[in-house]
Symmetry: none
Subunit: 196 residues, 4 copies
Amino acid sequence: MPRRPEQFEELREKSKEKILSAALQLFANKGYEATSIESISKKAGISKGLIYNYYESKKSILLAIFNAAMKMGEDMVLSKMNIKDPNLRKKAIIEMTFDMMEQQPEYLKLLTVITLQPGVMSETKEFTKNAYKKSQEWATVITGKGKKEGFIESLIIGALMDGIVLNYIMYGSKYPLSALKKQIIKDYCTPKTTKK
Amino acid sequence: MPRRPEQFEELREKSKEKILSAALQLFANKGYEATSIESISKKAGISKGLIYNYYESKKSILLAIFNAAMKMGEDMVLSKMNIKDPNLRKKAIIEMTFDMMEQQPEYLKLLTVITLQPGVMSETKEFTKNAYKKSQEWATVITGKGKKEGFIESLIIGALMDGIVLNYIMYGSKYPLSALKKQIIKDYCTPKTTKK
Amino acid sequence: MPRRPEQFEELREKSKEKILSAALQLFANKGYEATSIESISKKAGISKGLIYNYYESKKSILLAIFNAAMKMGEDMVLSKMNIKDPNLRKKAIIEMTFDMMEQQPEYLKLLTVITLQPGVMSETKEFTKNAYKKSQEWATVITGKGKKEGFIESLIIGALMDGIVLNYIMYGSKYPLSALKKQIIKDYCTPKTTKK
Amino acid sequence: MPRRPEQFEELREKSKEKILSAALQLFANKGYEATSIESISKKAGISKGLIYNYYESKKSILLAIFNAAMKMGEDMVLSKMNIKDPNLRKKAIIEMTFDMMEQQPEYLKLLTVITLQPGVMSETKEFTKNAYKKSQEWATVITGKGKKEGFIESLIIGALMDGIVLNYIMYGSKYPLSALKKQIIKDYCTPKTTKK
DNA sequence: GATGAATGAGCATTCATTCAT
DNA sequence: AATGAATGAATGCTCATTCAT
């Protein structure tokens, strides 16, 4: 008795999911170049050949993960965009970053590593360009000040978040995330006489 | 008639320099794994085999560069340590980081990329541990406050600098370094009612 | 639809066999170091990479052949051990060696060459030690005389066989194996007033 | 003040001697392929380049050693040829082989290994042919019997000596050379009813 | 869809040999 | 005569990708 089309589709999705999950772990922990298709297939519990039924190359697996991570990040940011008060909005976005560090360290690690590896993915460049444009657009939105000043502040907050991710990746659980979160929110999201 | 020892030494130094310089460019721009010995030799204008007269492996080239970069960074920090006033000291260190970004972007790129590559260098782990210890030691020194509070502040400044390096690497010359420097120094190194 | 396990097993065995056979020829005729993986693959009619699906290194190919040869030799000796009469037993073992020379010259050649190659195989040392011990144990068994005297005689017979193998390897088919066999059996396996 | 021609010649000979001596040690202990020109030059205490002033290639060094060893062996055999009594002559040659094992194990090791390595030296083939012819010529000379019978006996003695060398190489100092020598001389060089 | 045997280009590394001085 | 820097062909090995079944 043949399966219905939806069942096939379901199987496909399940296999693809297993592949991506295995690849994410390995890419993040061993690096992209050091991860072999063989090792992905073993971790995913499927055969080497099957991977190529779903993804046409090793790079396209990376791309799939990268895009998923990108989308997740973007969604999270967008979901906070309806917050009216600028300080609350900044706070929400900062907290979101900290949440991601605790819940999806692998994604963040991979995003960071990949973004920095020029040779690995030419697609990164495209993304980087877009990100820069978007950060300019978001600037006033996020900080709610004059364009110039808000832009600089948004870059600072962005850099700070990136730097914390980077340090967290390096130092691991010893890095005092909550103390930092508290201090940063105090520094950057307190209405009164903002910093200085 | 053999060359005199000084002549040999000269030749050696010249070749080693060419190798390191070529390797630095390539590692920083293409990544360590994606850089072949062949490409290093071509960029250096020498033969593949000669590289192995001076460095016993690809990894040892990386290590040589890494150590040079480390030393440079450490020296720069140490040279600012005799500054008495905490705010001036913070300012000096922040400015130093910005100077490095402008003068030695490749070194910074390489340090950042390498530090994040899990498989590439086990030596990084050792360094990372030391760095964490040192940052703790520096904490009070740099900020000159109570240990706990000073420590958190030093981590924030450190993360901010790292994040700016990272963003500069990604965005390149479009990234408004001087505006950021000005703002950050204003935020973190102003004596009066420091932040808030 | 995947192949059935037996089919895979069959393919594997066939390829492994081809590899070992090609390697045996080449190792024996050109020497281990002078034989490249490339040449093995060409002789076996397969690709270079496939060799590494079955043997993790060039050395492990050698080891596989070496062990097979060792086992074969040991089995042949053991199969003669149930012969009660010492002279008949000696005769059987001598004849066996001559049989091997005619039937498996490559194996003997390889064993001889390998055993003598200092750097090639540290495993040989282990084997050599064992061989020496065993030869001591076999001594009385084979010759059936007092330990000391029997030991020396067994060493002489052993050396003689080794030497004949060696000369046969060098001189090839011109070497008068059968005449030698006849004479040696007469010299060493005749009951009456054994030699002298 | 320039050196006189003889002094130059002396220096040349000294250097050549150092090279051959170093190469002999290394070839015998590490094998020909595993020995690098670099290591020979280091052991000889001269520069890599200088070796090529005296020998045009690595193989020609091997050849020089091989020929020296051959000549030495031949001289030793010839020096015994004036012994009239066949049994004493055999005894002298057998004793000579044992002497060489004790005094020049490296030469014997090298000769044995090289002779067996088809790929290493095509010159070996030429030598092997000659050796076979000579052994036929020597046959009657050495054993002093009817051509056929004497020939077989000389082959047996030759093989026995080769085999003992081979076993001595493998087992080292544990191998009971003197006991074997005594027994073999008794077996093969006793006048009365020679063997049997 | 699923398997893993098979391929071959690519890479780090070694080393005999050359050559400017 | 002497040195060792420089060369580049050769080699063992890896791994993404293909394909017969």
